[in-house]
Symmetry: D2
């Protein structure tokens, strides 16, 4: 009872699972498949994906380096908000999904495809993120989620299908992987299998892009990040493009044991899951952004942002990047970042990111202002008495009411 | 033009500044002074305060150990909320003020005093916190804030007054302190003078209750904290009272270089200030509490808490502890903590607090539930399709509207 | 492919649709059906429902008057929050669903049934409200939603089935109703068919429980409502039970043309729908509650409530009554209502509900307090200068920064 | 101890009180006074103000019609948010203050004045609104608030001063007014004296710009308002400028008894006050704006706006119009209004504003979309089952946990 599909654009990594999906789409829907393989900074060669796709008869193969777009249009806007999900997660997986979905939909239009397909399972958040984004960008698009549709019951079924269809299976993929991984320029996540018991510490081999704090150098590294309009623009005095800058921070973070996270999170589909995340450069960037804001952002602007951050993070995590509500919040945040510029100095040492200095021409804590406060009499300590007394007035009224009406 | 005051209760530390205040109150208001000296865990002997007060003719001297009350009734309720001000500050100074104010007001009632006095300056938050709390608890109380009232213009004026009034001045207090300090069982803060330039790293001698990460042991320490109803109740399997437990965490944090913070914050009175804070035990506790919540708290309960946390932290920071709005938020939070119990294992290493395990009989991530999900068919992957499609419906409607009405 | 069901409890109105459902359940699932018919104040006789159920062979028939429970445990707690969905809707249908679901689940336990069933369609909110409530109260309960399951395509199919199964169809039910109605003690809603075009004014015959403002008396009616702990407890000086009081307000509202609403609302399932609602008594109660709060509730307590009200209303509308987040918000609200007591006088006139007086022993606007402010010098106008200057400090700092750094 | 002031710009109405202030400024500060008199639509002749100012020797007299700016740049942006303070107040007085302050500061710059002055008392909100706005626009401006500064103790003192200084006092101003009034194109407010007891109904003579519902015509008036980008642009098919449109709505509202409000509100300075407000046109506009949003605004966009509305209203009420936080919220709101266009039909009848139709090319409830939903299979009722089951998953998990761990 497969739907009538003429052509489908598949988010194709070149790995075993999406190769199986590619073949399954061809055989199940009897349709043409277009592949899209993106370099999001996951650190894998993309050319093998091309060869495999060609081998399976794909005629339209899209392989693209989207790293700059990813950091500039997705990661940086999110970091302007200091977005953190459930107090700890920097949303490294979440933020990559809308970009992939956007390219799938665009390629569908270019190639005349009527559907898109992805390799996310039916229990996770990624399916939601892919599909909400796709529907938001093209309301008529059809979405194929093979993991929710096919009849395979086990890893063995999948491998049988691969074998039967001449899909090459590397020796080390025969057994089940001890955990599953997602990676991009912002982070790597590891989930499942050996990591499922939240009472158990993750084994060291889970970590892939950072040394442990113990293994990091015994000497601190000091760096300086420059900001303009809320975005990082330079490292140690040198202007860098968004993706180049994040990559450089990743190297620094990796070497200094920064950005590891072991958490239990709440998925949008209603269950808790345990993940091990590494966000080396993002962790540095988050700390630096808060620091530059601390001297350039007004108190109420900051508090308003902070009060809306959990909602924004939830939207990104749930997959509502392309939604009016995320865009409204973004408009609010971006309005606040106009003067968020200057430099932050940080010390990186065995897992710690420590702010050791912030400077800005836009500082609301500059010498000129401090002097203004003293010399021009801008701050009169007696003002504080009135300030406190009027802030207290309603509290005193309450206390008097309570005293007058106490029933005991 | 001093007001008519008969008797005043002074928050008295025994140090030079509050000794000068004590004398100033006696001479300016010609009134009786009652002293209140609290052991909040600041790590100072209190008996010298008694001797000094006696020497200055004080007849009613209150010296009290309020550490358990401080942690049980102020610190722990705040930690149930995971309160953090402006993304980083654990509110260590803020949370001590309402307790001191409460005791001042109570002692005023006991001793028939008509006023309370404190040693906070006119530029800071503490004056607000003391006075809002005092007014909320007794609407008729008079508040004397000597720093806002007296005519002294400089440190020299103060020392002259001390000398003239036979107040002993220790040799090392003759010069101005290079920065000012506040401490209690939860944290120490250092501010002012050498710390005023936020571009400059704080000198090492500023830190008082923690070693630096660099100086901390090369080997990690593993601990286990037990929780009941959202509060920490045991350490490494041993039940401890609130204050004893926090003290033990402070020792662990101090030894492992944990809880140092260098920040620029926004004061309630409208200016930015720079502080160096040390919260060794509190930093561990905060991380542990989030971890036990991660397996025992429902997603929406957590997100609701998180969305209100900035407001709660602001209230505590501004001094509105004794206010209906803080109490309403507390009622909301406490309602969520009933099942927040279990144990968290953490690794402490050179400034890092790493969660390495969480367990709970109240877990929403227990084997029993995971099994229920698979075996009883509680999770049907096909449900995800409907879930996504209805979540997408409004986004698709928007996309269709935009397509139909596009003006270009 | 019907699931294996042994016994099901059906929310049974006695009307044609739920009679068809009853029979369909018996024939499709070949299971025993228990009926539950509630008197929620919808204004219909319930005994016919008993006779029909008996006629169809039902052995366990529950007919209950739940009006007091409905108003006391559902309507009143919601009115403490002043809950309004999307600025206008008083949630009259939404709030009845969790009570019905709760009784279905309880009766299932009492009768050993393994499923519950309801007559809500697959496009609306009510299915969500019923089912979320049922699952929250019994995680193993099975839910049957016939409108989503059966194969009937049209009204004719349904009537054929009724005829074939000897279900009596009243003559006036042969044609399709021009719109569909839901009613309980709080409100009546009318939706669908002739009401579907939001550009068209509803025809007068849609309204069922109120006269139009034009038809209402030319003379105003003045009433007085008494409150205790945020709930209405008396009318015109006479203590009344919750349901009796609401019924009396309904009569007053009906006669005076009060509480009609024509709106387009956003359903949880993602579409907009148009409804005509009548909430005569609830509209009066809402206005009166705000008025008694205006003199007894502290400003920040009120503003905190107001800021959370949209979220609370959304939860009730979506069906999350039995959820930790609604209960947390309720704890917050209830904490605020302790002193919300006193009386409110209102004028009812041709659709208008006008507050013309409020009094309370708990007033924060009492003579005693006003006098206190003047006579005891509690309000010193000079305090306002300091209050304003410190509130302005950050704005002045911003203005100075902007002036110093202006780039043009 | 008056400060050194060279020239001051006074917000001058031409009435007795500001005439006294004018003279008092001249005599107390011995400075030049510039007068600014604005036509905000308060319905008073402004030429007498010119003559009086000339008579008192004022050389720089500014008299300006700012009605269009008022409605376009202040009232309309606020109405895009549906701002309502404390559930009922449409902020008619609040919104006029920042405009006056802005012109005062601009005129100060043009005329080389170093100060501005206003006639608001020390107990109210208006002083805060004027002064916060002034400081935000010029951090160095000096503000003179005569009511907080002068020594007059009573009305008699004021009249004596007037007499002594040849300020003409109209006969009917000799006695104290029974209440005080503020008016502009959006509303009129009446406060104080005879209105101070919130238990007493206001006497009919208080109302100034509307008939009572009882006096309004027995026949309804039907009107149609057109919207573009969230702002009203036409009435009954005719394009009108902002101020002209609001004036026309005022006439309609006045004639039909619309927009009267009797409330107790919480002032920013900490006390409750009672006011009688009339906002005839604004009440109609508010209802119409909600109605056009109901068909053109996405659900989540609306709910996000609604959740932030109380904060926005608070900011306007407190006087923080010219603040980063208000501007950030405005950016969010304005982002949502791009497609809020179409027409709303309303019935005005004896105090009631009833929506009877809404239409829009941008409707998210259009036939095209409804058809899309049915015909293209966009809504599959079976999707609802999955939607509900995943929304219920966490609730079921909670219920199972509770059952497993129940302690009784």
């Amino acid at each position: 009872m497969a739907r009538d599909i003429k052509k489908v654009v598949l988010a194709y990594s070149g790995g075993l699972d999406t190769s199986i999906i590619l073949k399954w789409l061809q055989t199940t829907y009897n349709c043409e498949v277009v592949t899209f393989t993106a370099d999001l900074g996951q650190g894998e060669e993309l050319e093998p994906a091309r060869r495999k796709a060609e081998m399976m008869g794909v005629k339209e193969i899209y392989i693209e380096d989207v790293r700059e777009e990813f950091v500039r249009d997705f990661v940086f806007p999110m970091f302007r908000m200091n977005a953190v999900y459930e107090g700890v997660y920097l949303l490294g997986t979440s933020i990559a999904r809308p970009l992939i979905a956007k390219r799938l939909v665009e390629i569908a239009r270019e190639t005349g495809a009527d559907a898109v397909a992805h390799g996310a399972t039916g229990k996770g958040n990624d399916q939601v993120r892919f599909e909400l984004s796709a529907y938001a960008l093209n309301p008529d698009i059809k979405v194929i989620a093979p993991w929710r549709e096919w009849e395979f019951k086990s890893r063995t079924d999948l491998l049988d299908f691969a074998e039967k269809n001449q899909i090459p299976v590397a020796k080390d993929k025969r057994g089940e992987a001890p955990f599953s991984v997602d990676a991009n320029l912002l982070h790597s996540s590891s989930e499942g299998k050996v990591l499922e018991d939240p009472a158990q510490e993750p084994p060291p081999y889970v970590f892939q892009r950072s040394v442990s704090p113990e293994e990091a150098p015994d000497k601190a590294t000091t760096i300086e990040i420059g900001f303009r309009k809320g975005d990082a623009v330079s490292l140690n005095g040198k202007d860098l493009s968004p993706a180049t800058l994040l990559a450089a921070l990743n190297d620094l973070g990796r070497d200094n044991g920064i950005g590891r996270l072991d958490l239990v999170e709440n998925r949008f589909v209603g269950m808790k899951s345990r993940g091990i995340y590494e966000t080396p450069g993002g962790t540095i960037l988050h700390t630096a952004h808060r620091a530059i804001e601390s001297i350039t952002l007004d108190r109420e602007a900051m508090h308003l942002k902070d009060s809306l951050m959990p909602r924004y993070a939830e939207l990104v995590y749930y997959g509502f990047w392309f939604s009016p509500e995320r865009e409204m919040l973004q408009a609010l945040v971006d309005r606040s970042q106009e003067n968020v510029e200057g430099t932050v100095r940080l010390k990186l040492y065995k897992g710690n990111v420590t702010v050791i200095g912030r400077e800005s021409d836009m500082s609301l804590y500059s010498d000129a202002l401090v002097t203004f406060e003293d010399d021009r009499g801008a701050y009169d300590q007696r003002d504080a008495a009135g300030f406190i007394r009027l802030n207290a007035l309603r509290l005193r009224t309450l206390a008097m009411r309570d005293r007058l009406t106490r029933k005991d």
